[in-house]
């Protein structure tokens, strides 16, 4: 029993170490891919970013709307419903924007990446590239990783803006909060450092979500079942990693 736990633990450490090495290899190959294969990276930004836009915008609108409703019902108890803009902006920029975008990103783009790479492995496409003396890392993995890393912060920004718009619709247009107060309060209390925190989080989550998706796809067992399992694992592991990291980064910024 204790021995089993020990093996599980060492197994985990081994995988974690391999993941870090893999990450280093991706980073080391990134500059040359950006210079020589910019077209591939742009294609992947389209795949991971542009194709996720619709789901991000719809989710952002409704999350913002909920913030407007909940914020109004709580804040009106303290006669502070004018602060609804501040309330929504803080929640969106610092937490909901980066976190929910990362979770949606894992569900939409991460699974697509993992299953695509897994299938390429299962159908020998990656071996074929190696046999043609072309490094799959350069041709397949790094462009997809970079595409994810670049699109994630932009998606988070879009999410926050649309969310704020949703809160505005609910708070100002439907519940009658004063529009001037909505924006004035927001401007007075929101600091640039709050924005930076949100950007920092979305960059970190972008790296983590893309890294895990590419890693899971590349290490998938090359069968139909293995690819399916890799896809599921991508979502689960990304979600856990993002939530844990969110806690750690938040604690870091509270200093």
């Amino acid at each position: 029993m204790i021995r089993d736990l020990w093996y599980t633990f060492t197994d985990f450490l081994q995988t974690f170490g391999k993941l870090q090495l893999f990450f280093v290899r991706l980073i080391l190959n990134s500059p040359s891919v950006l210079l020589q294969r910019g077209g591939l990276v742009i294609k992947q930004i389209y795949n991971a970013g542009a194709l996720s836009l619709a789901i991000i915008m719809v989710s952002g609108l409704f999350v913002g709307g909920v913030l407007g409703l909940q914020g109004f019902s709580i804040l009106s108890k303290f006669n502070a419903e004018d602060s609804i803009g501040t309330f929504a902006a803080f929640s969106l920029l610092k937490e909901l924007g980066p976190v929910i975008t990362a979770l949606l990103f894992a569900g939409r783009a991460g699974t697509a990446l993992a299953s695509e790479i897994g299938l390429m492995k299962a159908t020998d496409q990656l071996s074929a590239m190696e046999m043609m003396a072309i490094d799959p890392l350069q041709r397949v993995l790094v462009p997809r990783f970079l595409g994810g890393v670049i699109s994630m912060p932009m998606l988070a920004a879009v999410f926050s803006v649309i969310g704020l718009f949703g809160a505005h619709i609910v708070g100002v247009n439907m519940l009658g909060v004063d529009q001037g107060a909505f924006w004035q309060q927001l401007q007075a209390t929101l600091d640039m450092s709050d924005v930076y925190e949100g950007i920092f989080k979305s960059v970190v989550f972008g790296i983590v979500a893309s890294l895990l998706a590419v890693w899971e796809g590349y290490n998938a067992i090359p069968t139909a079942e293995g690819v399916g399992r890799a896809t599921t694992r991508t979502v689960v592991i990304t979600a856990i990693a993002v939530l844990i990291l969110d806690f750690m980064i938040t604690a870091l910024f509270l200093e």
Partner: protein, 271 residues
């Protein structure tokens, strides 16, 4: 070793195991230059594994593999990639890149490794596609192709860099008789016309007999027999005879090892 060695590929005392299963035990194979060499064997003897070892997609437990006298286990990635450019490999199911068209698939190695102008690339690609009879399919996507067509496109791609060595992994599996005949003729024609060496993994005895110059029969991790296909057909060895004539039972048992049939039906094996 700088002098040109006699054999194209030489495998010495190769051992390879996966998990607890020994796939090769002290395997020795010499593949001659300029001929079509067939590697045969029952399913599961590791024929494809052997190809992957020769191209160092896998690394042996012990023993060495010499390609033109160079031990490939000593190569770094750069040297290995340089060597691999001289190989063309046809995978079992084609392994075409599914996100680009047939034309781009064949052009892929050219675009990656050369700086040829587009017009020239177009010429080369169309020539190769014409050779496999699929010039008309250049604009199709790989998912639109039938199995036999996909394999012919993959063959065009494998030879687009004019390799010295063409490797075919089970090129005849799952093809209708017409496509099979086309591939058999292509294998032979390319070997002779381009003066290259071909290595072919298969268990289709009839096709091997028409196309191969020499063949190795691998069973139980060793070379069970070698020689020209005719020699193998007329051999005395029980195992070789069973394989070449397709007999159900013999040294290679029809039944996977199992408990006694009668005992099992009577339910006595449970105790």
């Amino acid at each position: 070793m700088s002098e040109v060695s006699e054999h194209l590929i030489e495998i010495r005392d190769l051992n390879y195991s996966r998990g607890h299963r020994h796939i090769f035990k002290d395997l020795n194979v010499q593949i001659p230059r300029g001929q079509v060499t067939a590697i045969m064997g029952p399913s599961g003897t590791g024929k494809t594994t052997l190809l992957r070892l020769i191209t160092r997609q896998l690394i042996p437990d012990s023993g060495c593999i010499l390609v033109e006298g160079i031990d490939i286990s000593t190569l770094n990635q750069k040297a290995l990639y340089k060597l691999r450019r001289r190989f063309g490999m046809l995978f079992q199911n084609g392994a075409l890149l599914t996100d680009i068209s047939v034309f781009e698939n064949v052009a892929f190695p050219l675009r990656e490794h050369t700086r040829l102008p587009n017009r020239l690339i177009r010429h080369i690609v169309l020539t190769k596609l014409h050779a496999v009879g699929l010039r008309g399919a250049a604009d199709m996507m790989p998912t639109e192709l039938s199995g036999g067509m996909a394999r012919r496109v993959a063959l065009a791609r494998a030879m687009v860099m004019d390799p010295d060595i063409l490797i075919y992994d089970e090129p005849f599996v799952g093809l209708d008789p017409i496509s099979m005949g086309v591939i058999v003729r292509l294998v032979r024609k390319m070997n002779d016309a381009l003066g290259i060496s071909s290595i072919l993994v298969s268990h289709d005895v009839q096709e091997i007999a028409t196309v191969a110059d020499c063949s190795f029969l691998i069973s139980g991790g060793k070379v069970a027999a070698s020689g020209s296909p005719d020699e193998l057909v007329n051999t005395r060895s029980e195992l070789v005879r069973q394989f070449m004539h397709g007999m159900a039972d013999g040294p290679v048992p029809f039944h996977f090892s199992a408990p006694n049939y009668a005992e099992q039906l009577l339910g006595r094996d449970a105790e």
